[in-house]
């Protein structure tokens, strides 16, 4: 930290002009320090008994459970389609993909509507947790130092002593799209 970051002790005898300038320098230094530390927001949620996270900028809406209409012939990971405010979204369940015990939907279950590239879909999660602000630098360090436990988890993060799996939407969606047919002629 440079000298300009040192707190200025107001000296009532000093020139008010110089005092104001020193305070302004201090405020600007503090602001630039904050700007150098960009934050990323993560939406954390529960699947099975484990915690996972997604960048918040991928999440459009979190909705309570809606009626699900089954669609014949689509991927085995697609439960059907939902109607959310007159838009139709495929509903994806990734419990099986992540080798997690399938859960019966409860009052805590939610649909998370996600936009990832050209894919717009809803994902069934067992419970929502919270949105956590994480310093991008720290997140990147953790991602570099941690190898994903599976191809569907890009890294394991520790946020406030909680272990989170950061979902790899690319590989998840590839598998969902290629996944076997839920019924064939």
């Amino acid at each position: 930290m440079s000298d300009s970051y040192l707190p200025v002790i107001p000296d009532p005898q000093s020139d008010p002009e110089r005092l104001i300038q020193a305070l302004e320098r201090q405020a600007m230094a503090l602001q630039s320090e904050q700007e150098e530390e960009p934050m990323v927001s993560l939406l954390t949620f529960v699947l099975g008994a484990e915690w996972f996270a997604l960048p918040l900028d991928k999440v459009k809406v979190v909705s309570r459970l809606l009626d699900v209409t089954p669609v014949p012939g689509t991927s085995i990971y697609v439960l059907g389609v939902i109607n959310h405010k007159s838009a139709i979204y495929p509903l994806v369940d990734i419990h099986d993909l992540l080798s997690l015990e399938p859960q019966m939907p409860t009052r805590s279950s939610r649909f998370v509507i996600i936009q990832h590239g050209k894919y717009l879909f809803a994902m069934l999660v067992d419970a929502m947790a919270e949105v956590r602000e994480v310093k991008t630098r720290e997140l990147e360090q953790q991602i570099r130092s941690s190898k994903g436990i599976s191809e569907f988890i890009s890294s394991e993060l520790t946020v406030d002593r909680r272990l989170l799996g950061l979902l790899n939407l690319d590989t998840i969606l590839n598998r969902v799209v290629e996944g076997g047919e839920n019924g064939a002629i």
């Binding site: 459970l65 009626d67 699900v68 014949p72 012939g73 007159s86 859960q103 409860t106 002629i185």
Partner: protein, 273 residues
């Protein structure tokens, strides 16, 4: 010769049979008008609408383009002779009936879609479909056996939603081309099971196109009920607290329900395999 005119006759026939022809015209109530006791009705032009036949297959309703349906047969009343049962040869999924002096192949929609099979009742129907040629003839004609024909309904273009291409790229997925958002109550009112329960129409249908491995309808409803599964398209909500007590469903019911729309032309290769 079978022509497109059958569609109009089907409409009239549907009305005569009490299947319920609803206009499906979208309405919009103006907030201003409501206060004055007036209703502003926006009607979609007829040419901007499609006509769909709503059918039941394995506890789920599906929409078929009326323009692809040339006739509707009632197996129990129309004196239809079964020529071949499905599965009479290895890998053969179709059966066949005698129709207009020839053999007509028939597919079961519920079996094609891998939906739960229910015992056929006297509301089961066979829809005639195929590829309509420019000269009015129908090529590759086949029959499609469904559990019930619920209604013929006009749907405005603004009610239609296409599905993402990646959902429908597989073999069976090509049969699905989109969804129509229909008012929930219109589908519920047309539910065959609702009618069965209220009218006591539990008459089984003996017709060999429907294979004998189908469970009894009454036992199916009972078994689903015991499992806490409501017959319909809803998710089952069961409490996660270890007790047997079931939580009240937390499902938000939207006013409009997606109806899966099927392209019957996609089944022609199956019927002629």
């Amino acid at each position: 010769m079978i022509s497109r005119e059958y569609s109009e006759s089907n409409l009239n026939r549907a009305e005569r049979n009490g299947l319920g022809l609803s206009s499906g015209l979208p309405t919009m109530k103006s907030l201003f008008a409501e206060g004055n006791g007036l209703e502003l009705r926006l009607e979609t032009r007829r040419e901007d609408q499609i006509e769909i036949v709503i059918v039941m297959a394995g506890h789920q309703s599906f929409g078929l383009l009326l323009s692809q349906v040339y006739n509707i047969l009632r197996p129990q009343n129309d004196g239809i002779n079964v020529l071949k049962q499905p599965g009479s040869a290895p890998g053969q999924v179709w059966g066949s009936i005698e129709y207009q002096g020839g053999e007509l192949r028939v597919l079961e929609l519920a079996r094609m879609l891998h939906r739960p099979l229910v015992e056929p009742i006297d509301r089961s129907r066979i829809l005639l479909t195929g590829k309509l040629l420019a000269d009015g003839r129908v090529e590759h004609q086949y029959g499609l056996a469904v559990d019930d024909v619920l209604a013929v309904q006009r749907v405005g273009m603004e009610q239609l939603r296409l599905l993402p291409a990646w959902m429908c790229q597989k073999k069976l997925g090509k049969l699905v081309w989109g969804t129509a958002l229909l008012e929930r109550h219109s589908l519920e009112q047309h539910s065959a099971l609702h009618q069965l329960q209220t009218e006591g129409l539990l008459t089984p249908l003996q017709f060999a196109i429907f294979q004998p491995d189908r469970p009894k309808l009454g036992s199916t409803v009972e078994a689903l009920s015991e499992l806490g599964v409501s017959v319909g398209n809803e998710l089952t909500i069961i409490g996660a607290n270890g007790t047997k007590e079931k939580l009240k469903p937390a499902i938000q019911e939207s006013e409009f329900q997606p109806l899966i729309l099927l392209d019957l032309a996609a089944l022609i290769p199956v019927a002629y395999s």
